[in-house]
């Protein structure tokens, strides 16, 4: 009888692998209990109420990611930030909002991504170029123009040294950028998701 429920919860668990363990157990327990108390025996009725495990997991993850900026969560890392952005994005895509908004979000993220890629390419080419100069300079050392060779060697080493010193700062500013993007996404998610999650189907008389 409860096999249907177990299956549903099992699938939901798979889709929630991104959540911290405790949070995942909590939410799974809630829905398991919910389904048992509601005497759900058919998969179709469950999905009518809660959606497919995938759909439900997207809502859960989006909610978790939008509302976990308060103190209680463990220190955020760029990785966890990127994960949060991704979950919120999925949640927004799942919510019934206009295509223009989704396009706008994608455009925004694409710009961020392009920026990061450009930065990475610049740093990479720099090292490539300096490495090349280094090899050439070392080769020069064993020729008649050893003096010019050591000059170039020194220049290349200084340049690499300076960039290596700057690198942590660069990484920090990228992290900062990602964190800012996450905050922006959170705020956006809060607005979009809240609106659509709590939408009523028809007018209701208060009082």
């Amino acid at each position: 009888m409860t096999k249907v429920i177990d299956d549903y919860i099992f699938e939901l668990e798979q889709d929630l692998s991104g959540l911290p363990e405790k949070e995942r157990q909590d939410v799974l327990e809630f829905y398991r209990e919910f389904l048992l108390d509601g005497d759900f025996v058919r998969r179709s009725t469950i999905e009518q109420e809660l959606g497919t495990p995938k759909q439900l997991s997207i809502k859960i993850l989006a909610d978790y990611s939008t509302n976990s900026d308060s103190a209680s969560v463990k220190a955020t890392t760029p990785r966890s930030n990127l994960k949060a952005i991704w979950y919120i994005l999925l949640g927004i895509c799942a919510a019934p909002i206009g295509i223009p908004l989704i396009l706008l979000i994608f455009a925004f993220l694409a710009v961020c991504l392009a920026f990061l890629v450009t930065l990475a390419v610049i740093v990479f080419t720099f090292f490539l170029k300096q490495g090349f100069l280094l090899v050439k300079a070392i080769a020069l050392l064993f020729t008649g123009s050893w003096a010019a060779g050591s000059l170039y060697l020194g220049k290349a080493l200084i340049a690499i040294g300076i960039v290596l010193l700057l690198l942590p700062w660069l990484v920090k500013s990228v992290d900062f950028l990602i964190a800012k993007c996450t905050t922006a996404m959170r705020n956006l998610g809060k607005n979009v998701l809240k609106k659509n999650y709590f939408q009523t189907n028809k007018n209701h008389k208060e009082n």
Binding site: D26, E33, E49, K194, T200
Partner: protein
């Protein structure tokens, strides 16, 4: 043609039910759904947030060989409920003046 339900009211409704009785997830969802037409997946995030902010606590009680998690309102929760009730009183009075059933000519 839908009136969107602010989270604030949803919080208020959940707290109001819990002030009468401790409830488990399914029963609470049923109760709230009698008032607001919300989807089943709306309640968990609300409970999670209220619990995180110490407006309610949970405890487990055995039921038919499994556990049921009951939600219990805290003093902070009762206070918040009072605040929301006051806010709603003011709001609904104002809206009623314009949209209420007995439509007297308000300015």
């Amino acid at each position: 043609m839908a009136i969107q339900i602010p989270t604030r009211l949803l919080d208020g409704a959940v707290l109001a039910f819990l002030k009468q009785n401790d409830l488990y997830g399914y029963a609470l969802t049923q109760n709230v759904q009698k008032v607001f037409e919300i989807s089943e997946s709306t309640i968990y995030p609300v409970l999670r947030r209220l619990k995180k902010n110490n407006y309610l606590t949970t405890y487990d009680e055995p039921y038919q060989g499994r556990n049921r998690r009951y939600y219990h309102i805290t003093d902070d929760g009762i206070e918040l409920l009072q605040t929301i009730q006051d806010e709603w009183q003011g709001f609904s009075t104002n809206v009623d003046q314009v949209l209420g059933g007995q439509n007297d000519q308000s300015n």
